[in-house]
């Protein structure tokens, strides 16, 4: 296989995985031995191997979220050995490779924990609270009409870069999972500041921040204590500066918007 290390020895692992039948059932950590794992596998491929073994044995496979497996969709999650997306910084679980673990390791795998992210099954949590926050204002309304010329609206490079950095948020929820308060401030602030910085987004900026923050509070996320765990665990490196910017936006909007 291209890129694989011929000297890499297969690893034997002990997995402790959160198993939960459905939303209303109580869950528990179940221990599975798993042998012969290649260090070149991704973490999700390792779980695929486990699931194949479970299927053969006639047991229920472990349910976990995944989609692109390229680190860009934000679907994978998992709290691995006490860290969101595992021990590596700036990495999603699908991009985490087994070479970061050792032969004989015990790996604990839990779902995101937050009241706003209820567990559906095993390691799958319901992250639709993020969707509802987005629907509350995380968009730019486009009216019909002729298509404007490209580059008609001048945007300074520094602003475009900052907006792009905020826009890289993949909405995986690691910020919520890592935060001691299960706060969604990093996610919401990335969405708010991304649009607030650009001319197209400025039109709705006041109502946007008011509605998105209100929805964030309704969903039951905690408040921000500025501990910085969210930014440290964020797979795409969303900065805490976005939270400061959202607070500025929020205070300004509350003080001056027409919404009483």
């Amino acid at each position: 296989m291209a890129g694989s290390n011929p000297n890499a020895k297969p690893m034997d692992l002990t997995l402790k995985i959160w198993r939960q039948k459905d939303k209303n059932s109580a869950g528990q950590l179940v221990t599975y031995p798993l042998n012969g794992i290649s260090p070149d596998m991704s973490f999700l491929e390792m779980l695929d191997v486990l699931n194949e073994e479970l299927l053969v044995k006639g047991e229920e496979p472990v349910a976990f979220d995944h989609d692109c497996r390229e680190g860009i969709c934000g679907m994978c999650s998992l709290f691995i050995n006490g860290r969101a997306h595992g021990p590596e910084r700036g990495t999603t679980t699908c991009q985490l490779h087994m070479r970061h673990f050792n032969h004989g390791d015990t790996i604990t795998i839990e779902p995101w924990r937050a009241a706003a992210f209820p567990v559906h099954k095993d390691l799958i949590v319901d992250r639709s609270a993020f969707d509802r926050i987005q629907q509350a204002g995380g968009y730019v309304s486009v009216n019909t009409g002729g298509v404007p010329d490209a580059n008609e609206i001048a945007i300074p490079k520094t602003i475009a870069d900052k907006a792009f950095d905020a826009a890289t948020c993949i909405g995986c929820g690691a910020c919520v999972a890592a935060c001691k308060n299960a706060s969604a401030m990093l996610f919401v602030s990335a969405k708010v500041s991304q649009l607030a910085m650009l001319p197209q987004g400025k039109v709705e900026r006041k109502t946007r921040v008011e509605n998105m923050v209100a929805q964030m509070d309704v969903e039951g996320f905690g408040a921000c204590s500025n501990i910085g765990a969210c930014a440290a665990e964020c797979p795409v490196g969303i900065s805490l500066d976005n939270i400061a910017m959202m607070n500025r936006e929020y205070l300004g909007a509350k003080a001056s918007s027409e919404n009483v």
């Binding site: 050995n81 860290r83 839990e110 001691k180 308060n181 921000c224 500025n226 205070l251």
Partner: protein, 232 residues
């Protein structure tokens, strides 16, 4: 609820109250410390007693005292409301968690540090503020008198000297000041972040200043009981 109460009962609104009151309480610490430094004048407390007399009687100071109490009340009340909310936001915790890999201990334990400071504050007020202000009222023991330039004053200085001869009292003070230092090291820069006052040019200065401020102020307070314990 109207827009105003709605704003300040949102999570961000409450954090804004926390930061404004927090920074206000920091300004109080500066004033309090500068006043306390008159204890070191070496004049058997003459300057300190005159200063404490001024603080107890000046109308502007007395008005600010009410604002100060309100600062504490809002800071503590919002801390309680937010802590409760934050606990409900994660009803089921992780069986394995390593927060030390992504954040500082003091930043995660502001509530614990704040509680230590609150307990200290109650002890501190009971020892100095209550006898000075309410001595003689409802049977409370007051302070001894002292004559300075033929005028009678309360001898708060004597109370300070006597209090800090008790070793465990000194220990409580020093522990509380260490807790305060850690509370401020996170709190000072965090307040600016919450208020949205961040900028490439100023934030590094605010962070450094916050650490120096926290350590210096708390060291200044902590040295007082230590000095009087060993001077006796």
């Amino acid at each position: 609820m109207n827009w105003f109460t709605k704003t300040f009962s949102s999570t961000i609104g409450r954090k804004i109250i926390m930061s404004i009151t927090g920074l206000f309480l920091c300004s109080f610490l500066v004033v309090h410390l500068i006043g306390n430094l008159t204890l070191f004048k070496g004049d058997d407390g003459v300057t300190f007693n005159l200063y404490s007399h001024f603080m107890a009687n000046n109308p502007i100071i007395r008005t600010m005292e009410i604002v100060l109490v309100l600062g504490f009340v809002f800071h503590i009340y919002d801390a309680l409301v937010l802590t409760r909310r934050n606990k409900t936001a994660r009803p089921v915790g992780y069986s394995e968690n390593h927060p030390q890999e992504n954040s500082n201990w003091s930043s995660r334990n502001m509530g614990l540090l704040g509680t230590v400071i609150l307990v200290f504050l109650i002890i501190h007020l009971w020892n100095f503020f209550v006898p000075a202000r309410f001595g003689g009222v409802a049977g409370l023991e007051g302070l001894e008198g002292v004559v300075i330039d033929n005028v009678d004053y309360d001898n708060l200085y004597l109370k300070v000297v006597q209090s800090f001869q008790i070793w465990w009292y000194v220990v409580i003070y020093v522990i509380a000041m260490v807790a305060l230092a850690y509370h401020l090291i996170h709190g000072f820069q965090s307040a600016f972040q919450t208020l949205g006052l961040t900028h490439k040019k100023y934030t590094p200065f605010i962070k450094t200043f916050g650490v120096i401020f926290s350590v210096l102020v708390c060291f200044g307070f902590a040295i007082i009981p230590i000095y009087f314990f060993f001077a006796a």
